[in-house]
C-alpha cells in the first residue's frame, strides 16, 4: 500500500512547473514568499493526492484545507503562521510514524 500511485501525470507536471518557476523567481522576491511557495506546492500535492491516498487520505485532505487560510493570514498573523508550520511538522511526524505502525 505504501507504493500506491496517487498523482496523475498532469498533477505532477503542474507541481514541478510551479516549483521550478518559483525557484527562478524567489531570489528577487520577498523572503516570506519562500515558505509560501513551498506550502502552496504542498497544498496542491495534498489536494491532488488525498482522494486516491490509501494510507493518509484524511491527513492530506486536512492539511490541504488548513494551508490556504494560514497562507492568507501570514502577514496579519505571523506568529499564528509560525505556529501552524511548527504544528504541521509535528503532525507530519505523527502521521509518518502512524503509517509505519509506530507509536510516538
Amino acid at each position: 500500500m505504501d507504493d500506491t500511485l496517487v498523482l496523475s501525470e498532469a498533477e505532477v507536471f503542474d507541481v514541478v512547473a510551479f516549483l521550478v518557476t518559483a525557484a527562478s523567481l524567489l531570489p528577487e522576491e520577498p523572503v516570506d514568499y519562500g515558505p509560501a511557495r513551498l506550502l502552496t506546492a504542498a497544498q496542491r500535492l495534498c489536494a491532488a493526492a488525498a482522494s486516491r491516498s490509501e494510507l493518509s487520505r484524511d491527513f492530506l485532505r486536512h492539511l490541504a484545507e488548513e494551508i490556504v487560510p494560514r497562507l492568507n493570514s501570514r502577514n496579519s498573523d505571523p506568529a499564528g503562521f509560525r505556529a501552524f508550520m511548527d504544528e504541521s511538522c509535528r503532525a507530519i511526524a505523527r502521521e509518518a510514524a502512524r503509517r509505519l505502525g509506530r507509536e510516538v
Partner: protein, 189 residues
C-alpha cells in the same frame, strides 16, 4: 473643474481579486480594460507598452502553470509587455525605470476599469518571463513584465483567498514638508 467623488469611492473599493467564477470574460470586456490602460499617464506619452490579451482557456492554463503567483483560475489575462525596440528607437538611455512606472499607472487604470464593468482583477508579477515568452511566442523585443488576471469575482464572503486589510495608517506613509526623525510627522491618522 468639478470633482468626482465616485473616483475616490472606486479606488477605495478596489481589491485584488484572485479567485473567479466560471463565467467567461468577453473580448469587449477585455478591450474596455485595455482602453483604460491607453488613457493612463505615461512618460512623454511614448507608449512603449504592448498588451497581449488572452482568452483561450488552454493558453491561460499553460500560463498558470508557470506563474507561481496565480492562485485562482482567471478567465482572461492581459500581459503587459515592454517593447524594447521602441524604447531604443525613442533614444532612451540610462535608467529605464520610468517605463515600469508607466506599467504601474496603466495597471491601476486597468484594475479600476475592470471593477467598473463588474469584473474582478488582480496584478501578478510572480511568473517566469522566459516561460511566458515561449508560451505567447513573443519576439525578443517584447518582454512580459506584469499580467492582469480577470474574471467574475467569487463573492467575498466565500472567497477563501480574501485577506485582512493591511493595518497601515496614513500617518505611517506621509511625511509633511520634510523628513524628521522625532516623529513630528505623526499626526495620529
Amino acid at each position: 473643474m468639478a470633482g468626482d467623488r465616485d473616483v475616490l469611492t472606486a479606488i477605495r473599493q478596489r481589491r485584488a481579486v484572485r479567485h473567479f467564477e466560471d463565467a467567461p470574460v468577453t473580448r469587449d470586456q477585455m478591450l474596455d480594460v485595455i482602453r483604460a490602460a491607453r488613457w493612463a499617464p505615461a512618460a512623454g506619452n511614448k507608449r512603449v507598452q504592448r498588451y497581449v490579451a488572452v482568452l483561450d482557456p488552454t493558453t491561460i492554463r499553460l500560463i498558470r502553470t508557470v506563474t507561481p503567483g496565480m492562485a485562482g483560475h482567471p478567465k482572461g489575462l492581459i500581459v503587459v509587455c515592454l517593447d524594447w525596440e521602441r524604447v531604443a528607437a525613442l533614444g532612451y538611455g540610462g535608467s529605464r525605470s520610468i517605463f515600469y512606472v508607466d506599467i504601474g499607472t496603466a495597471t491601476e487604470n486597468m484594475l479600476l476599469a475592470a471593477q467598473a464593468i463588474g469584473l474582478g482583477a488582480g496584478p501578478v508579477t510572480s511568473f517566469s518571463k522566459e516561460a511566458v515568452s515561449v508560451l505567447l511566442r513573443l519576439p525578443s523585443r517584447l518582454t512580459p513584465e506584469l499580467m492582469v488576471i480577470l474574471g467574475h469575482p467569487v463573492p467575498r464572503r466565500t472567497e477563501h483567498q480574501s485577506r485582512p486589510r493591511t493595518p497601515t495608517r496614513l500617518g505611517d506613509l506621509v511625511i509633511w514638508e520634510h523628513f524628521s526623525s522625532d516623529r513630528a510627522n505623526d499626526h495620529g491618522y
